[in-house]
Subunit: 195 residues, 2 copies
Amino acid sequence: MSRAADKTAQAETLSRAVWTVLATRGLEHLTVRAVAAAAGCTTGLVMHRFPNRRALLLHARRLLHETTRARVEALESAAATPREALYAALRQGLGTDEQTRQEAIVWMGFLAAAIADDELIDEHRRNNRAWRDRIHRLVAAAAPTWTAARVATVALALIAMAEGAAALAAADPAAFPAEDQEQALSVTLAAFDLS
Amino acid sequence: MSRAADKTAQAETLSRAVWTVLATRGLEHLTVRAVAAAAGCTTGLVMHRFPNRRALLLHARRLLHETTRARVEALESAAATPREALYAALRQGLGTDEQTRQEAIVWMGFLAAAIADDELIDEHRRNNRAWRDRIHRLVAAAAPTWTAARVATVALALIAMAEGAAALAAADPAAFPAEDQEQALSVTLAAFDLS
DNA sequence: GCGTTACGGTAACATCCGTTACGAGTCGAG
DNA sequence: CTCGACTCGTAACGGATGTTACCGTAACGC
């Protein structure tokens, strides 16, 4: 038991180290040695916990997915109305503070790494489709009279906007401050009569 | 003269090789040798043309910026009205065909590489700000009665949507087909009364 | 025609990478 | 207490990477 708990705790520590390296040094410096240094251990522990580097990245990717999913679900269940839930879910997907901006950088690093890795790209697609389906469901609940086609189109527009705003803000926080992103989201929801 | 022309032509060939490697193998395999192989030469030519790998990437990044800028300006000057120009500019920023999807992948690869490179991140910011200013100008022309604040907010929403749609489509073309992206753009412009 | 110069390929260099082998230390069962 | 299994750090290996030095060769001025 405690052994198993220790193992998962170590895996989580190493995954967080992967995020740290990815956010601060970028994909090109994401080496096993750099991860070990960020986690405060040696490469021996890393390679004992994961069979190889790809498995390490895949676990870190999945843990990031799980973390953000849990956060969104908490926001969603805390919301009073579907429209509040929709706004809260989209808002956390922007790059409005240091944490979400770093998440966006890590997100993008994984995506760049997924170009040459089938498992990573599969994970990314599964993740993005689940995210789209979630927003789809919230839009449908927020606008019950809409046709399915309009729900799908607006859901796509909304997740694209959140994704793009996060990417823009992650690379240039000064040019895309939090208030501007939130304003853009609010104005767009209002234009769709979803506010 | 011919020497200078040859030099710039070679630099362009090498930059296109950088794009090819970045689009097909990803940032992790973007090595000097891979670029030389894609360009059909050896590393000697590459290192004779550019002082080091970073200069090679920076040149490829700037050439990509210049290429897309020229394409957008051509679309803009060919448009009859500001609203047509706005739609055309945003539409080419989506990931609606193989070329634009590959451009989005390359774009993202450069962004991932820029995390650890000050010159690359500066280039990216300059580029994104110019792009935002262009859309800002087109929105202002398309909606002359709007306040400056609304123009800025809507411009941000629109470039975020285009950027995000391109990223989503580049990673998962099957889930985000061209028609859906175009539909989302059209519907959003209509919601803002810009169609 | 000849010497010079720039061009580009070859090969080497030091370094860093992922991965593996091995050994010291630790914990628990009998 | 002893022995075996497990954990993790150390060190090494083969291979790849960015970069440099060197050398043949083709083009250009005189």
